[in-house]
């Protein structure tokens, strides 16, 4: 193991489609956010989640090992399907100070933006998440 192993940062940005019945999504989000907040903090992951009522958009960043484990867990989560990775790899520094829910609601405008940005729109979606959580100026 290299001495700087734990200092490396990886990130992952993905979109997926929710398969939970609309009537249950509010309760699902409460559970999901409560659970994710504590768990992500405990393993050093930061990022933001956005839910449009039909799609999830999430950015996660942190130590490669922790992120890989989380990716595997998210990949097996049965609350969503059609997961598409929009961006991934190593990053020089974190973009998010913590993990939080950026938005959860039924905005048609946002849903179209998220769907429309799937091809090559990763920077725009990252900017959207950062603006929501107010971390756009985190990296000077």
């Amino acid at each position: 193991m290299r001495p700087d192993e734990d200092l490396r940062l990886h990130h992952w940005l993905y979109i997926s489609r929710c398969v939970v019945e609309p009537a249950w999504t509010a309760a699902m989000m409460d559970t999901l956010v409560a659970h994710a907040k504590g768990r992500n903090a405990s393993i050093g992951l930061t990022g933001a989640l956005l839910f449009t009522g039909t799609h999830f958009l999430q950015a996660l960043e942190g130590p490669p090992t922790a992120l890989a484990l989380m990716r595997a867990a998210i990949g097996e989560d049965r609350r969503h399907t059609a997961l598409v990775t929009l961006d991934e790899g190593s990053i020089p520094e974190r973009r998010f100070a913590g993990w939080s829910l950026a938005y959860a609601g039924g905005s048609i405008y946002l849903a179209n933006k998220v769907r429309g940005a799937m091809d090559g729109g990763a920077p725009a979606l990252m900017h959207l998440l950062e603006t929501f959580v107010g971390s756009a100026g985190l990296q000077a």
Binding site: Y103, G105, G106, S107, I108, Y109, L110, T131, F132
Partner: protein, 218 residues
């Protein structure tokens, strides 16, 4: 707070551009909905007290002079008076900051100007889908607030303690009264608020915003 006028198919339009306002009104009527057009935001705010609950399509046209933050303030000023209204902000080539500000302030959706019917229809569907629950929530808050005014100041203090999760003993120490007195106040609170269990009381407290006032050092 009185009864909310539930005209759940009314769309209030605010747009200083006469041509776009007229086009919007026509689209709204073609969708079979009632339409109240306003030329200025101040006209809407003046009429706000008696407008039927519905969707508000609000054109944001003076971005050059204002930061996106001002957009959030506009949305909040509407919702402060009529929290049940489904507010949709419209803007020409909006920035992400505009959209985020509007949604964070409580707008339910966003539209790009010029608005096309095929974009307007799903957004109004969304608005009228969430409206009944918003109206019902406001009516519950109105009723709950009316009940709260029946509590004495001391009962309100005890209620805040209960909601903050304090034991009767802790509340008694904090208010420098006897534990028995706290128990008596709790009984009276439940009776006045027409509640028979603690869970209902907590829901009530969340609804009326009693929790927001907090309890110093609770």
């Amino acid at each position: 707070m009185g009864e909310i006028n539930v005209g759940q198919s009314t769309v209030h339009i605010v747009d200083s551009d006469p041509a776009h306002r007229r086009d919007l009104a026509q689209m709204v009527r073609q969708l079979g909905l009632d339409c109240h057009p306003f030329a200025a935001f101040s006209d809407l705010m003046e009429a706000m007290g008696y407008l039927p609950a519905g969707c508000i399509l609000l054109a944001w046209r003076d971005r050059a002079a204002n930061e996106a933050a001002a957009l959030g303030a506009v949305v909040r000023s509407v919702l402060l008076q009529r929290p049940e209204m489904a507010v949709v902000i419209m803007a020409a080539s909006p920035t992400i900051a505009d959209v985020v500000q509007a949604l964070r302030a409580g707008a339910i959706d966003f539209l790009e100007i010029p608005v096309q019917t095929e974009m307007l229809r799903p957004v109004l569907d969304h608005g009228f889908a969430v409206l009944p629950a918003r109206v019902a929530r406001q009516q519950r808050i109105g009723q709950a607030s009316a009940l709260t005014t029946q509590l004495t100041p001391r009962e309100q203090e005890v209620l805040r303690g209960v909601v903050a999760g304090l034991t009767n003993r802790a509340i008694a120490e904090r208010l420098r009264i006897g534990v028995r007195t706290v128990e008596m106040h709790r009984g009276n609170i439940m009776q006045k608020l027409q509640m028979d269990n603690l869970a209902a009381l907590i829901r009530f407290a969340i609804l009326t915003g009693i929790l927001d006032h907090g309890l110093d050092a609770a």
